[in-house]
Structures are given as C-alpha cells and as structure tokens.
Symmetry: C2
C-alpha cells in the first residue's frame, strides 16, 4: 500500500506567521499523498472580542453557543483554511480546503447535554467518513486541508482537530499505509513536563497506562494520547507526536518526537 | 452530452433567510449535475462595521483592501459558503464548498491599478479553470458550491460571482450541455426598469446592442448581460436571467425570465 501522511497542526503554529510559513513549505515538500488538519488558534478569540462574542471555557474546552459557532465557521472554515490553501497553492501543492460538511466527509452528532452543555460541538460518528471521496481526491493529487468542523443534518459543529485527524487516519488505513503525526509546541511527550529534554522516544500502551496512573502527564497531552492509541490500535501504521520542524525535516528518515507503538 | 446546470445566486437571496431556504430546497431537487455560485450579501458589510472595517465603493464595486480581503474570505468563503453546504447536505445534496484557490479551480490576476486601485480583486484567467477536477467531482455526484473568491500565487482575490459563473460555464461546455442561470431580484431583463412586467422574453445579441445604445438598461444588469452573451457565444447551450423561484420551479419545462440567444 502507498504511504499517506496525516498531519495535524495546532494553534501554536497558526498563531506564529513565520512558523506557519515554514511548516507549510515543509508540508508541501512531502512527496507522498498527505492530508492536513488544522486547529483554531487565537484569532477566533481576538475577532470574537471585537464582535462582542465572549469566550466561555469549561475544563479547557470552549463552549460553542450560536454566535461562537458562526465565529469559528468564519474563522476556521474561512479565513484560516483559505489562507493555508492559498499558501500551499503557491508551493505547487494542490490543496483543497474542507470541513466535515463538504462532500459529507465527516458526520457528527451534537454532543448530548450532560453536566455541561458544550453547545454546537460535534462528536464524530466514526464510520461516517466518506473515505471513497478522500481516496479519489488523493488519487487526483489533491491534498485535503481540514478545518476543525463537522456537521449534523444541516448544522455545522465545532469539532476537536486531534479527533478528526485520528478518525481520518483510521478510516483511510484500509486504502493506505497511514502515518499520523500530531504536531504541537513540545518536542514530544515529556516524562517530566518541566524538562524539554525528557522526551519519551517510544511509548507503548502498557507503559502509557503505568505513567498515567503515576500522574505523569499534564492535561493538555491526554486527549492527544487517547487519540494516538486509539489510532494505533485501529489499523494506523505509525503515530508520531512532537514539534513540527523536527518531525517534518526528518520525515521518513529518522524518528523524532514520540513514537506511539502497540506493544 | 449530459446536462449541467450552473446557477448563480446574488446577495438578495442570501440576505433573506426564507428565500435562501426555499432556493436551496429547489436547487437540491434538480436531478441533473449542477454547480452553485453564490455572491456576498450584506452580512460582510454588517460584520465589517462591527470590526471597524469600512466599506469603500467606486462605481458600485467594493474596494478590497487587506482587512476587507480577510473579511470577505471569512464571510463568503467561511460563514456563507458553509451554511449553504450544510443546508444542502440536509437535503441529501452532496455539496462541497470551494473558492478558486481550492483544488486550484480558478486562477486570477490581481487587477492592475489604473484610474482606480480596486485592491485585492481578481480578474479571472479564462483558461485556468481546473475543469478536470470539476468533471471528476460531478461524476462522483459531488455538487461544487463556489464562493466569489479566486487566487493568484498564494493570495486570495475577491472576484465577481457572475464572471465566475460564466467562466465555469464556458470551461465545462466541453464536457456538458451547460445551462447557465443567473438569479437576481427581477423577473428577468426588463425593457423598462420601472415596470416589472416588461420582461424581455428572449434577447439576442443584435437586439441587445440596439437596446444598449438606447440606454435601456440600468447599470446593475450590464455586467450580467456581458457575461451572459460572452457565455452564449463561447459554447454554453442556454443562458437564463431571472428570479429564482420561477426559474427553478419550471426548470427543464417552461422558459421563465429572459432567455439569451445567439441570433
């Protein structure tokens, strides 16, 4: 099977013009088929402030009320997504920007109201990915660029970008030898969050459970690790977590960051 | 050849929630392959006001400075485009929202500065349309929905939606029997703009030139007519101009609005 790189970048890259430029140049130069998933970044909050849309967070997650949904649809699905697409086009990378609504690529259900009402937030329906259309686009050398949005029956839903990346990787592993890469601000998963040189080079599920019980991980990394292990246990060939410059410069040669393994 | 409907809707439909809902239901029910091109609408101006981005117009055309480009990229390419896509999905129409940058579908050049500097406005490169990708998407039963934006080498460009519709129609007429429909607030091209019942049923180029010299047309209709005649003279099978409710209800049966003919 052909290799497919699925690469997720977070807000830290999006918020830094120079870093984003460098990342997109590196991304464009990857010769295999590839998919990019981008997060949000601070610009939505900044624009929201200007528009009088207040940001509410519960447990680190933004509450998506109706005005916030419009805001993130504009900013993530419009401004950020199209700027990335246009820049990739300037590097002769034939990017096509999408949300989960486009081409019915990813369906979700609005998260049920429990202790917290997260608002217009989507929980992805795992088997809903339109992998036929994605496969066809990739065969045409078109590079899908996902904004962190899905849909349910006519309604856009704000959706976690790490989860989108993981679900896409799992779904496409029937067509490709998928390498899933989560880029974030750290060099990898750190054994000690205060020490940047404490990167865990390889992490299997047993060791992850051990470290988890010792409380070794800070909150931010946990959803990423959950998505990473779910992917590696569901047919994805390789999962890497780390800092984009190192990961993309060494792609296919040397393992930088943290390699997630099954056993 | 198979029929392909290329339908352009303007701001008047977008600004009216009920009209838009009706239009999208009618559009979804068209059984042939189809493409939708939407304009902008007043919401960009409203949001621009809230963000302190002032609108400047010269001869009825918005000047697109850098903040305005970001605004229209967000609003046209994000909010409006994705709301249309999601609504069409709810009608089981597999819409995919795009700009000219996505899939390198339409390239343009930034309009040269003459008497007026229009800013980030694109003049389409006619032969640049990626009709191969559009053809493949349509064959997959995917319905492209265009926002009025194109690109040049990494830069998004604000672009007239009527012109996008016309250029797409011409480019796809090598693959399809193309019917181009311009929807606007009138019942058709009016002989006397003050009389809604003065619709010209069919208009050929000779008669158009005559009426033009008599000053029969108001400014707003002129770019539409130029695009319409350019299309009909360049391989497009049929061009209709009129009000969406009548045009779409009678599609394929009875000619409503103004039919543009070659001779």
């Amino acid at each position: 099977m052909n290799k497919l790189y699925i690469i997720k970048i977070g807000g830290n890259v999006l918020d830094d013009e120079k870093a984003l430029k460098g990342f997109l140049r590196d991304f464009a130069s990857i010769q295999s088929p590839k998919i990019l998933i981008h997060g949000g970044g601070k610009i939505a909050t900044k624009l929201g402030d200007q528009l009088g849309i207040q940001s509410h967070y519960v447990k680190g997650r933004r509450i998506t009320d109706a005005p916030t949904l419009d805001l993130v649809t504009m900013v993530y699905g419009g401004l950020v997504n199209k700027q990335i697409v246009a820049t990739l086009q300037s590097h002769h990378c034939n990017a096509l920007g999408v949300t989960g609504a486009d081409g019915n690529l990813i369906k979700a259900t609005k998260r049920p109201v429990g202790e917290v009402d997260f608002g217009y937030v989507g929980d992805i329906i795992p088997d809903s990915v339109n992998s036929t259309l994605l496969y066809f686009l990739l065969k045409q050398n078109v590079i899908p660029v996902f904004a962190p949005l899905t849909h349910e029956n006519g309604v856009m839903l704000n959706t976690n970008a790490d989860t989108i990346a993981s679900v896409l990787a799992i779904s496409l592993s029937k067509h490709f030898d998928v390498r899933l890469i989560f880029c974030f601000e750290r060099q990898g998963v750190l054994q000690d969050v205060s020490k940047e040189d404490s990167v865990i080079r390889t992490l299997n599920y047993a060791r992850y459970q051990e470290l988890l019980q010792q409380g070794a991980f800070h909150d931010g990394i946990l959803p990423k690790l959950e998505n990473a292990f779910h992917a590696i246990q569901s047919g994805v060939k390789e999962v890497l977590i780390g800092e984009h410059t190192n990961l993309l410069a060494n792609i296919g040669y040397d393992t930088q960051g943290t390699l997630i393994t099954q056993a």
